[in-house]
């Protein structure tokens, strides 16, 4: 909600006029000051359309609330109702059909100081924009939605809308409608709007009252105004005179109290309930989001200073790109191992590295792999058909990937899981058992493997890998991961010389 001064404005320029409904000149003057000062009038609306009454009633609410014009925003979509902001001297935006609410959502989140109105017809709000309407209600974004419900698409010539009553005729329902209509107010109430009121174009002062209450409600508010489209709806449904149609609205509007105390049969056919139908204030989206900002900032403050830089000696030059594949099954931490490996090679050893991994259904099946290409030059092709260095932590991964080991390449397998190795000269180490029994945590098997790889392959230096492992270690696990890394090194060094690559 924008700033409210609470002081209704005084109008000393009131000319001595009375309008057709007998309103006083003061009312006219209070309306006129909110209309665009240059030649936007007359409106595009048909003579007698309820939209003029509704527009007047809304600006009187703005006036009575004492809102500053500069702090008021009107957003609209497409349709006769959507033209309203054109005439109003506020910040105004006219967007695509149905999208006024999401556009207004962006405005409100970018500048919560603005009091944001969204004016929509029934087609705009509940057909093409229906999804946006219910989600804004659910989120309780502090927008004031005014849904002008005239049962029809007026601007395009009278096609049936989601609120056209069953049996009513429309240009696209020449035999009468067969689709049950939405009850807009009940729809948004069910969806979570925190303030919902309904009235009609006949009850102009009620519109003003409900719009004011909507603005004062800190959340998503809906004022549904039943209106007359005599031109396209009335003409096809025996209510072609605007007065007749407005009178029909008056006669079919049943006050909530009376509505609740009567049976449907006691009400005229087509009757609808009017009044404040729902009011249950709760914190709005921006208020809750501001708490998130607070929390996020506090969390940021707690993380403290980053650790001191680690210097790693410059590695030997690399003539050709080296391809590394770390494979196993999901949950063995191989993706992370690949990330650590790539980070060690690039950030610490100063080379180029590109890491990729399996995604989607492939990644959810048994096998998981993470590939790293390392080179001294920019990596033009981040994939490989054959690998210089490979880790296989399951039998399945070994069966699938070991055939892609380059001749003379290095293969490390976890001897707990890989019992049959299709390749000669693989290095087998009980990586998982070391993690479980020596280090004390099975999840560190990937780090044990990295320690072993630092011994078995010169691609990435031990110092670089150690530094990258520590970078990735969650708070308080540095010791555990260092121990896992060291155990991996120890195990690899203990391999018989014949089983170690030259």
């Amino acid at each position: 909600m924008g700033p409210v001064t609470g002081n209704p404005k005084q109008h000393d320029d009131a000319p001595g006029l009375t309008d057709a409904l007998g309103n006083t000149a003061d009312v006219l003057a209070s309306t006129r000051q909110y209309l665009r000062p240059f030649k936007k009038l007359p409106t595009v609306w048909c003579p007698g359309c309820g939209l003029g009454i509704i527009q007047g009633a809304i600006v009187r609410a703005v006036d009575e609330l004492g809102l500053e014009k500069d702090n008021v925003m009107f957003v609209a979509g497409i349709g006769c109702t959507g033209r309203m902001p054109t005439y109003l001297d506020f910040n105004t935006l006219h967007v695509t059909h149905g999208r006024a609410i999401p556009a207004a959502t962006g405005i409100k989140l970018a500048n919560p100081e603005l009091t944001v109105f969204v004016v929509m017809g029934d087609g705009d709000a509940t057909a093409i924009g229906g999804n946006h309407l219910i989600h804004a209600a659910r989120r309780n974004i502090d927008l004031n939605a005014i849904v002008v419900n005239n049962y029809i698409y007026g601007m395009t010539g009278g096609q049936y809308s989601p609120t056209t009553p069953v049996g009513s005729k429309a240009s696209t329902a020449p035999y009468g409608g067969i689709e049950p209509p939405f009850d807009v107010s009940r729809l948004v109430t069910a969806a979570g709007a925190s303030y919902v009121a309904r009235t009609t174009a006949y009850h102009a002062t009620k519109i003003t009252q409900y719009v004011k209450e909507a603005v004062q409600n800190p959340g998503f508010s809906v004022v549904e105004v039943m209106s007359n489209c005599h031109t396209t709806y009335g003409r096809r449904n025996k209510l072609r005179n605007p007065i007749d149609l407005i009178r029909w609205l008056k006669d079919h509007a049943v006050e909530k109290k009376k509505w609740d105390s009567t049976e449907p049969a006691e009400r005229p056919e087509g009757a609808f309930c009017v009044g404040v139908l729902h009011s249950e204030p709760r914190p709005d989206y921006v208020t809750l989001y501001n708490q998130i900002i607070e929390r996020a900032r506090n969390a940021e403050a707690e993380t403290g200073t980053p650790p001191a830089p680690v210097e790693v000696p410059k590695p030997a030059p690399m003539a050709e790109p080296v391809a590394v594949r770390l494979s196993g099954s999901g949950g063995q931490g191989l993706i992370l191992a690949g990330v650590i490996y790539g980070r060690a090679a690039s950030v610490y050893d100063g080379r180029f590295a590109a890491q990729t991994q399996s995604y989607g259904p492939e990644a959810r099946g048994g096998a998981s792999k993470s590939d790293v290409i390392v080179h001294d030059r920019p990596i033009v092709y981040p994939e490989a058909d054959e690998f210089d260095l490979m880790l296989c932590m399951t039998q399945e991964a070994c069966n699938r990937y070991a055939p892609h080991l380059k001749p003379g390449g290095t293969l490390l397998v976890d001897s707990l899981y890989v019992t049959e190795c299709p390749t000669e000269g693989a290095c087998a180490l009980p990586l998982t058992e070391i993690a479980r029994n020596v280090v004390g945590r099975q999840v560190t098997a990937n780090v044990v493997a990295l320690g072993a790889l630092s011994v078995l392959s010169p691609v990435v230096s031990e110092a670089a890998l150690r530094a990258a492992v520590l970078d990735a270690a969650p708070k308080g696990t540095a010791e555990l991961n260092t121990s896992a890394f060291n155990e991996g090194i120890k195990a690899a060094r203990g391999l018989e010389s014949g089983r170690r690559p030259r």
């Binding site: 500048n111 940021e300 950030v347 890491q355």
Partner: protein
């Protein structure tokens, strides 16, 4: 070991000035010196941060570095990491994130936020981009600065969510109905994803336009090392504010050039903006000359004649007889192909299109005057090659290389094509 974020400030290792680590772009999008050149000139101080991240993460960090204030999005593979990172990082900087009900709403929301003055962005992939195109037209019409990232996957329809393609390059240009200009950039590396996100924001702000940044699943999900310069070393362009008082302000005023000064809603400049064709006052018009004036100004504003919108990288083009015209991941392979071919004595060069739209016609025309053949490798059925043909207008033979298996181009495949054109057999 469970994962945790890992980032560290450190002195970068001694640089090798012969290595090109990708071009960088200044505030206006001009290609400046390479990162390697800057390093060798000592401009990359201990202040720069090296991180090893995915392209999507680099994009998110680029957006934050560019001053992002609002993000609206809807989850979709392979772009989701961008939204995830921003949802965590943006509130720390006082900005706001929202997950909308769909991509239509996301696009509408970033337009609204942009009109209220916030640097705004969304990220998606093909199916979501298809939903966004409606309001990309609105952003063009409202001249609302915003950035739309499309991490391309295989299509059409749901296609291949986790596989890479480059098949949205035409949709990015022509997706919405009507005649409207748009800027489209595309990244070849993870460093690019960071740099070009910043460039996208700068161009959006400078030209009051939606900018589409095309990544690919391959670059979005790949991890590489990137250098993040300290904030003071990143040049940012902010939209031009009005110089006139509110009473005299016209939202689509062309008196100050083709890009009208921008006033955010809520700053005292009350005005009307609409997706309807409008005149300089912002109100709808159907006057012939005003319609013409608006659409022609839009077209002039983002025209290929603007020199700084010719964002391309020339690689070994000086004496090239065959020019590879490539973009995105295919440009990496093309660069590798140039080096492989040169080792065999074949004179290949590459023009990497960093900007796809407006298409740098003059650059290609020049290349066509020099080279006998232009080869255009793409991960689609041949889309940008049509533009290359148009620009070459018969001065060089243009050859399309298409691939839709969702595999990347490999350098040797491109070299083979070049050998065939030159009548050379075998090779190394």
């Amino acid at each position: 070991m469970p994962s945790s974020s890992s980032r560290r400030r450190r002195k970068p290792p001694a640089p090798d000035p012969t290595q090109d680590r990708g071009r960088r772009f200044d505030a206006g999008g001009n290609a400046t010196e390479t990162a390697a050149q800057r390093e060798s000139a000592g401009q990359r101080s201990a202040e720069s941060t090296s991180i090893f991240v995915q392209g999507n993460a680099a994009c998110a960090r680029g957006a934050l570095a560019a001053g992002l204030r609002f993000f609206a999005g809807y989850p979709i593979t392979p772009s989701t990491e961008i939204a995830e990172i921003i949802s965590e990082e943006l509130p720390k900087r006082g900005g706001r994130f929202i997950q909308m009900e769909d991509e239509i709403a996301s696009m509408a929301a970033i337009i609204g936020a942009s009109m209220a003055g916030a640097k705004s962005m969304t990220a998606t992939s093909g199916p979501g981009f298809s939903l966004m195109v409606e309001n990309i037209g609105l952003a063009a019409m409202l001249e609302a600065p915003c950035v739309i990232v499309n991490v391309q996957r295989g299509g059409p329809s749901t296609g291949l969510p986790t596989k890479t393609h480059q098949a949205d390059v035409m949709q990015a240009r022509w997706g919405s109905h009507g005649d409207y200009p748009i800027i489209v950039l595309t990244a070849a590396s993870v460093q690019d994803a960071f740099d070009l996100t910043i460039t996208s924001f700068n161009l959006a702000e400078k030209y009051r336009t939606p900018v589409v940044l095309l990544l690919e699943e391959a670059t979005g999900h790949m991890r590489e090392k990137i250098e993040i310069p300290p904030p003071e070393a990143i040049a940012l362009f902010e939209r031009t504010a009005p110089s006139v008082p509110p009473g005299e302000y016209l939202p689509f005023d062309d008196r100050f050039g083709d890009v009208p000064p921008f006033a955010a809603y809520g700053t005292g400049y009350r005005y009307h903006a609409t997706g309807l064709t409008h005149n300089r006052t912002g109100f709808p018009t159907e006057a012939f000359e005003e319609i013409d004036e608006l659409l022609r100004r839009h077209a002039r504003k983002i025209s290929e004649d603007i020199a700084e919108l010719r964002l391309v990288e020339h690689y070994k083009m000086d004496d090239a007889e065959i020019a590879l015209v490539a973009y995105g991941s295919s440009a990496r392979a093309a660069k590798g192909a140039v080096d492989l071919a040169r080792a065999e004595g074949l004179k290949l060069g590459m023009i990497r299109l960093v900007i796809l739209w407006p298409f740098p016609t003059a650059v290609i025309r020049e290349a066509a005057a020099q080279a006998k053949h232009l080869i255009v490798p793409e991960l689609n059925m041949g889309q940008m090659v049509r533009e290359v043909e148009r620009a070459a207008s018969g001065h060089a033979r243009v050859h399309s290389m298409t691939k839709v298996t969702s595999e990347l181009w490999a350098p040797h495949e491109i070299v083979e094509k070049a050998r065939a054109l030159l009548g050379v057999n075998g090779g190394a």
